[in-house]
């Protein structure tokens, strides 16, 4: 299982996947907001989303897991 980390501190603007979704490498799963800018977070490998850790409006730090992919 791979944990996808936020990579930067910011607010969760948009969650694009839900548990059970199949995702492809490079696919954007969450969009963060920082300084009025939308910054997408993508998964590195194909897989299935087993857990979404964040909700829209949450504040995340760079090392926080945002989704788990199996």
């Amino acid at each position: 299982m791979a944990k996808v980390e936020a990579g930067m501190a910011g607010n969760v603007w948009k969650v694009l996947v839900k548990e059970g979704d199949e995702v492809k490498a490079g696919q954007e799963v969450v969009i963060l907001e920082s300084m009025k800018m939308e910054i997408p977070v993508a998964v590195e490998a194909d897989g299935k989303v087993t857990k979404v850790h964040v909700q829209e409006g949450d504040f995340v730090n760079d090392t926080d897991a945002i989704v788990d992919v199996e």
Partner: protein, 452 residues
Amino acid sequence: MFTKVLIANRGEIALRVIRTCQKLNIQTVAIYSEADADALFVREADEAYCVGKPPVNQSYLNAEEIIAIAKKSGAEAVHPGYGLLSENASFATRCINEGLTFIGPSPNIIASMGSKIEARKTMKEAGVPIIEGINTSLESEDEAKLAAKEIGYPLMLKASAGGGGIGMQLVNSEEELVKAFAGNKKRAESFFGDGAMFLEKYIAEPHHIEVQILADSHGNVVPLWERECSIQRRNQKVVEEAPSPFINEETRNKMLEAAIKAAQHIGYTNAGTIEFLVDREQNFYFLEMNTRLQVEHPVTEEITGLDLVEEQLKVASGAKLSFTREDVTRNGHAIEVRIYAEDPKTFFPSPGKITEFKLPEGEGIRNECAIEAGSQVTPFYDPMIGKLIAWGQTREEACSRLKRALEDYKIEGIKTNIPMLIKTVSHEQFLKGYTTTQFVNEYYLPLLTSTK
């Protein structure tokens, strides 16, 4: 004039404000998070206080702590910089209630310009052209569909509490509008605490051109010409210049007049920027008003010879502007590029430690930067690490000086957007002076795939 000012910001803008304060013999108070303890702006301030942990909501957005520090240090005024608390009406109100001068307009103006629907209504009353659209909050999908039919697609669906590059979506058809509406409304509710949504007609090939104004508390409003900021990625500016190479003198004059009308109508004070979208035919429309100092203010300073922070401090202390519109002459051409710690292909932030660092020098070159070799670019804040500004007698001269300076910019240890900036400022389309907000998509990104 003030004797001591607290700067409620960090990085290059904190340092920028400190420099002007030093020039005016004003004592400076910096605030910093634990992540910024070793930063240059902290050392340059006369006093510095730790305001909390690295995340902004525990430090630079902690209004209570910031005000407590201001009072403890004996500061008389607070300069909010840009971003962070600079457009937070309740912070401005709290400063005033605590007897501190907030260096910016009054809280009610910040609030009314922060609501995009309210701002549209106000500008319409002022006689400033607005984009065809609706000025009330859309409560339901059906209401949105009806309004959309009247205006016609394509449209921008926007959150009233959004702004900058956040909270807007292009919709090309009723199907897309229906698909986007509920989610965007809910997101605006949870994110901004305000779910008000509205629609604006989509302007094709828009230029983003804004007018800088200064206003004192005696009713004087002076425009400081315009800036063209069309080159953006993720709806955020990366290259800004003054004057705009696109508009003609007639349009320029009309835009400056509109900006004066806007500022006078709302009784604006301090430095502010009225942003417009300008279409192919040079029709211009109000986009939003930024009630603070802008990141790109140096290009205006370069062509006018004014120090905008100095003017902000003066008008905030109650002084009259010492010049009129006619006095503000335009000299040469200035271009600014924002240096970001980010991947030049994906634009994803690239934090890390800067191992080697040397700023470029040369005639007409100015740097606004608060980092040095050994600085850590943390993931907690905006990844902009500095701004490089080039001035020339002509646009051609400014372009060539800027390109040379970018090539001389020495920064190691992190990825930066400098390669992207070099490609941009040497691109034929940029040199021609016709840039729209689609520049990165149309001209820069295709370069990457063609050279792979």
